[in-house]
């Protein structure tokens, strides 16, 4: 009984591509008004910000002071006014967004790679492995993350790379926990057992089957975590450990202008608004994704 001796000629033809889960989620996302608003906002922000090298010259527009034009109010030509070095606030916001969002995204990616690995191993194998990983993460959880970041940054020098690393380390424990919880839930589902019954290795099960299922409900959280990280950078900048000058960064701009908020509000207000808008957009998209990927929304 080695092979099924069915002589039926296989049809071979395939039906036109059906929409995938993601396409499905996309359809649902498109129907979600606030998510669409968020996506439009986010897309606009990203396009405007990331195309800034096309219309801004870093040396001349972004970092070059004009000490004759300091703290000018918004006017023609300098739509959002100038900062205490006479630099165009708008140009710095646009450029700074590349850095703020870039750091947030990269830190999130780093922490989700580490977090997913740890969470998946911990959740899948359970037992002692789980115990060791989780207890170590508990330790990191018990140190307030801002403090941890400050210590790390002050040990490693506040370069952008180190900021990303410090932010990522700060958020690894919570990411791992989320992933672990998902993995635990998915591991308990029958399909994992079904795949094991076919002889798949643990590696294959984790990478091909569990992680894709575990991550998609978390994607919205990851998106929102980016927002949290951008806020964390601004907190670090407040204590002077954020992105180092002359690079503009929203948090740093926001906190450096706070001294004159009563006179020249625009120096603080506009970076703040940019930050808030981005975070709002990210959150809206994240919320939308969560709903779109919610299995209960499936038929």
């Amino acid at each position: 009984m080695a092979q099924i001796d069915l002589t039926l000629a296989p049809t071979g033809k395939k039906k036109s591509k059906k929409r995938s889960l993601w396409a499905d989620a996309w359809l649902r996302l498109r129907k979600n008004k606030s998510a669409v608003a968020g996506m439009i906002m986010l897309a606009t922000i990203l396009i405007v910000i990331y195309s800034s090298p096309l219309y801004l010259d870093y040396d001349n527009d972004v970092i070059k002071p004009d000490l004759t034009q300091t703290l000018q109010f918004p006017a023609k030509g300098k739509l959002l006014g100038t900062d205490e070095l006479g630099r165009d606030v708008l140009a710095r916001i646009l450029w700074g967004g590349r850095i703020s969002i870039g750091i947030g995204v990269l830190a999130m990616m780093l922490s989700s790679i580490i977090g997913c690995t740890l969470g998946a191993i911990s959740g899948y194998y359970g037992g002692k492995t789980d115990g060791i990983i989780m207890r170590s993460l508990d330790v990191f959880m018990a140190i307030p993350s801002l403090l941890l970041m400050i210590t790390l940054v002050s040990i490693m020098k506040p370069t952008i790379t180190n900021l990303i690393i410090a932010l990522a380390i700060g958020s690894v424990p919570s990411v791992s926990r989320m992933v672990r919880a998902q993995v635990l839930y998915i591991k308990g589902q029958e399909f994992v057992e079904a795949i094991r019954a076919q002889g798949a290795s643990d590696f294959r099960i984790i990478v091909m089957h569990i992680l894709p299922n575990a991550i998609s409900p978390l994607i919205s959280q990851f998106v929102m975590e980016i927002a949290g990280l951008i806020l964390a950078i601004s907190g670090l900048s407040f204590i002077g450990l954020g992105v180092q000058p002359p690079d503009p960064e929203w948090g740093a701009m926001l906190s450096s202008g706070r001294e004159h908020i009563r006179d020249v509000w625009h120096v603080t207000a506009f970076p703040g608004i940019a930050l808030v808008l981005t975070v709002v957009a990210l959150t809206l998209v994240g919320d939308g994704l969560r709903d779109a990927l919610d299995p209960r929304m499936k038929r």
Binding site: M1, A2, Q3, I4, L6, L8, P10, T11, G12, K13, K14, K15, K17, K18, S20, L21, D24, Q189, E190, F191, E193, A194, I195, R196, A197, Q198, G199, A200, S201, R204, H209, P212, N213, S216, P295, K298, R299
Partner: protein, 318 residues
């Protein structure tokens, strides 16, 4: 060593729980002959699925041996195990949760072929997948569908196609139809039966629905709290149930037939906890025939001949 195709000896599985050892399967013995079906019935939580998982080595038994074609599969090395997996497959109760929600029908069915690298070329693999879909009656327009887009009947067909992919010899069917509608249920039962006739599969059929199991199998084992309480060929069991639990179970089935109404045996009380069970007949708490003795010793299995055996102390009195 006997000449049975499958022989299970004193199979035990205890789970460690915070409350103590949970005796999920506690010393089960049975045999299955090639091309035959054994039905396993019993209350929820009596260890049916655990037995099924042990048979497919998804769980390590705490104790006992499982001989498959004369080889004890509990002692295989991981490498040998991979080979063995090709021969033993399992179909699960809930076709939705047993399919990866993020894989298309094609990939779900192709998964075992990929794991074992059975086919050298993509085309061969694809052909095999279409062949299997045809076999279980799935139209090929579903190759790119996701489980959530399909109904229960089709999902279960994917599960079956996947189980058949590696041309197994023995299939554990763990309540394959209980999540399905009656009309679909019949389609699937027919399919399984047809496949058995066509390819000579050996089935272990787990269910709590006695009418289904009667329709489907040659021999039935009734389990109660991890133990076998009665085992007999189908006809014998239905005609002559000996264990009080089997009797109650049989009488409890609501029959959609107005003429054949029978007297119910109603069980009182709740199922006892399987955690650290005492030295007693596990059914004693609910048994109307139970005596002091039943509450003090674990009954042995009595062989009544003709493949009929019962675990009851008072077998000869009731």
């Amino acid at each position: 060593m006997s000449n049975h195709y499958i022989e299970v000896k004193n199979l035990k599985k205890y789970f460690q729980t915070p409350g103590g050892n949970l005796h999920a399967v506690d010393g089960v013995n049975f045999t299955i002959d090639k091309g035959k079906t054994i039905g396993i019935v019993g209350e929820s939580g009596c260890g049916k699925s655990t037995t099924g998982r042990l048979m497919t080595m998804l769980l390590e038994p705490t104790e006992g041996e499982i001989f498959f074609d004369g080889k004890d599969i509990t002692k295989l090395t991981p490498k040998e195990m991979v080979e063995y997996r090709k021969k033993i497959q399992i179909i699960f109760q809930d076709p939705f949760s047993s399919l990866n929600p993020r894989k298309t029908v094609f990939h779900s069915i192709a998964e075992p072929l990929e794991i074992h690298k059975v086919y050298a070329t993509k085309a061969e693999k694809e052909n095999r997948v279409y062949e299997l879909m045809e076999l279980v009656g799935l139209s090929d327009r579903f190759v790119n569908s996701y489980p959530h887009e399909l109904d229960g009947g089709r999902r279960q067909r994917i599960g079956i196609a996947r189980a058949l992919a590696l041309s197994p010899e023995f299939i554990v069917c763990d309540e394959p139809v209980s999540a399905l509608d009656v009309s679909i249920q019949a389609q699937i039962l027919n399919l399984l039966k047809k496949l058995q006739l066509q390819f000579g599969y050996t089935y272990m059929f787990i269910t709590h629905d006695l009418s289904v199991v009667k329709h489907f199998s040659e021999e039935i084992m009734v389990m109660y709290l991890g133990q076998m309480v009665e085992k007999a060929p189908v006809k014998e069991l239905f005609a002559n149930p000996r264990h009080p639990y089997t009797q109650a179970l049989l009488s409890a089935i609501p029959v959609p037939n107005l003429k054949k109404k029978k007297e119910r045996i109603l069980l009182q009380g709740e199922i006892t906890s399987p955690i650290n069970p005492r030295q007693e007949c596990r059914f004693a708490a609910r048994c109307s025939f139970a005596t002091e003795q039943c509450r003090k010793e674990v009954p042995d299995i009595t062989d009544l001949g003709g493949g009929h055996s019962v675990r009851c102390l008072r077998i000869h009195e009731i």
